[in-house]
Symmetry: C2
């Protein structure tokens, strides 16, 4: 029996929308948004989309009208009653009412601010400007829309069975990864792949496959909507945008040097337990840890998001020991450039010495390498970053100079203030 109503309903959509919910975003955006809403609500920021993979000419692949339709649709979204109830009522990391009533009230009224879109040299220049708590909520949906429109542009040329086999191959590939990973004793792994996903449905499939296939070693997803629908834990803490904006707002070198710690001081007031995770690499991990205040060593763990991950973890272990902490009580979350072999290698090196966890991103939700003609569906490196705050440019150094961003003179200043010396360059694949 054909369900006529469903068919008619599906066909009356003027546009096949990609982002259909304000919580189809990373959970840590909500956590950070609440923190920003409380501590720096009136900061004016600009976020900008940056395609690091110049060879993929997004403006040639993706129709501007289609892109605008998708972005316009996101501006029509409002938090639904069920989503609000979920956020208000859920227990995250064992804590009830993680989201304060004043934040929830604000979130229920949120409409994403206007966007600015231009084409330059085969790329889209997509920027968002306005109050920080509003603008920051564009990051993940903007990335998801661009990623999925690029997928669709490539898929459009394929036949019906060619498409089915494409997904059959992608499923097989992911399942084989799961079959390998689940053999690792004591593994803990989360989905961090929202921002670089092939498509929403594919991320949703991947999460469900992990639930069935990982036999308890899958601990949750960063995607708030999928966490709600699939009844798994929403996972996440904080990201570089906090120290980047706090640092841009600093009025002197002395204030700048303290800015990253001020972020964590604000965070410390609000959160405990698994949410107290240090992200140390914004302006170099070594220096950040060396000059960190005493209380930071008491935090639950650290997230390693750039540079050589083993080096980063060893640095953290030495730091904890120097501060009189037992590394075995500490959590190390790896979240950069992971795939099966790297996860296995890092787990073998660090399990037992610290608590280890993995935030698996692009190679979980977008490993379509080798599956389409001319490798047209291979993932690429798209980011959406705060580039200025109250008119001042932001800077990111990270532990990999290839991930650095900001004006050259400001980068030089930050390197001086944060005592960052020579860094090992690593390819940024995705």
């Amino acid at each position: 029996m054909v369900d006529i109503a469903t068919r008619v309903y599906n066909h009356k959509w003027k546009v096949d929308t990609i982002v259909r919910s304000l919580i189809d975003t990373d959970f840590y955006k909500l956590l950070m948004c609440q923190s920003v809403f409380r501590n720096r609500p009136d900061t004016t920021v600009t976020f900008s989309l940056i395609n690091r993979t110049k060879s993929i000419r997004l403006a040639d692949l993706i129709d501007e009208g289609e892109l605008r339709e998708q972005l316009d649709h996101i501006r029509t979204l409002r938090l639904s009653r069920g989503e609000s109830t979920f956020l208000r009522g859920n227990t995250f990391y064992g804590k009830r009412q993680m989201f304060r009533p004043d934040f929830m009230e604000w979130f229920e009224g949120l409409q994403l601010p206007p966007y600015h879109l231009e084409k330059h040299d085969g790329q889209y220049e997509l920027t968002f400007e306005g109050k920080w708590p509003e603008v920051m909520m564009w990051e993940i949906p903007a990335l998801a829309v661009l990623m999925e429109l690029r997928s669709r542009a490539v898929l459009r040329a394929m036949g019906r069975f060619e498409l089915q086999v494409l997904y059959a191959r992608a499923m097989t590939k992911l399942w084989e990864k799961i079959e390998t990973l689940r053999q690792i004793d004591g593994l803990k792994l989360a989905d961090f792949g929202t921002r670089r996903r092939h498509s929403f449905l594919w991320q949703d499939w991947a999460v469900q496959a992990l639930i069935e296939g990982m036999e308890g070693k899958f601990i949750g997803t960063s995607n708030c909507l999928i966490a709600m629908r699939r009844e798994v834990e929403a996972i996440g803490t904080n990201a570089h945008e906090l120290p980047m904006v706090y640092s841009a707002l600093a009025n002197s070198d002395a204030e700048l040097a303290q800015a990253p710690y001020q972020v964590l001081a604000d965070w410390h007031e609000e959160h405990d337990g698994n949410l107290r995770i240090i992200l140390p690499d914004t302006y170099g991990t070594e220096g950040f840890l060396a000059r960190a205040p005493e209380w930071l060593a008491k935090w639950t763990g650290i997230r390693i998001d750039s540079g050589d991950p083993a080096t980063g973890a060893e640095t953290a272990i030495r730091w904890w020991k120097a501060r009189g902490e037992d590394p075995q009580d500490k959590l190390v979350i790896f979240s950069d450039g992971l795939d099966v072999a790297k996860i296995a290698e890092l787990h073998a090196q660090f399990a037992g010495r610290v608590k280890v966890s993995f935030g698996w991103g692009t190679m979980l939700t977008n490993d379509f390498r080798g599956l389409a003609p001319n490798d047209g569906l291979a993932p690429f490196s798209l980011v959406c970053k705060a580039i200025s705050a109250n008119g001042r440019p932001t800077v990111k150094l990270s532990d990999n100079p290839n991930k650095a961003m900001g004006p050259a003179d400001e980068i030089a200043r930050y390197k001086r203030v944060f005592h960052v010396g020579e860094q090992a360059a690593m390819d940024v694949v995705v």
Copy 2:
């Protein structure tokens, strides 16, 4: 939107039926049935299911109650009005009204006769007895039911995503075969996989994949129902049961020696063109061709179904030349033990010398080798054959002694009458 009515409808089936139509069968069964209905309608035959792969203990895998439910359901099937219209109205091989009105009237009233089911030593003993035109229609549905119940028994232990990945792998495997085969210039290939299919839905998927993927090199399917639904040609001619039953009915060695030719004489009266295909191997190809009447060399082609296929085709080519026929005008259909490499090899050897066509069976519709734990879904060799006619045992020799069947003394007699000497034994995989 969930379609409640569909869901309720699906759940009210007491049994998930495997065969849902009397034309979910090989087209040549219908052609042969019409011939039998006209020429030998009152012959009493016994058909029996034989599992050549003893290591697969079907009676341990498959619940007897479930098997009976499926077989009982088949006995409730009647030719539907649309199916009857399709058979009456369709053009097969360019010929209108291939099925005579008296046969269609009989077919519209057909109910399959009772079955007899016992268990012996881990195997089912499933037999059908009655009038030849009725009993012969059990062959394909009986095989399809046993094959699919075995698949289900193995699938039952698998999880939801494990299942999805199983089919993803099977699809990928088949699609890769299609990608290889479609590169062969001038290839012509048909689906002959009904009897050994993994499941009905899988065969239907395979046919659709061939339609899209083979770019015109796919010429049709032996499955009459799928041919109707997917609007492709129904393909088939005749099979061993005709000479086997005719031979069993022979009253003397002299009559026996003529029986296989009598089959084709009856066929010759009814059919021309692409339906005049010789199946020469029932009692040895060499002798059959050597003693064949002159008019047989005028037939359209030959089907090679046992023994070494290249040897069989070379034998046919020599025979045509000896009878003054040009092999380039003749069609050779290969239909035994085919997979991609063998198809490519035979095509390279014979294309241009004769017209070549392939009837691809088990490795098209049931290549689940290596896809389930303990290789539990690997295809196996199940047949359903006429074992007696009017109380006399049937005999098949074929060009491979491992495919021979019948009582030992009768086999010896047939070998003498048909001058069959030493034969090369070949493994029967499926």
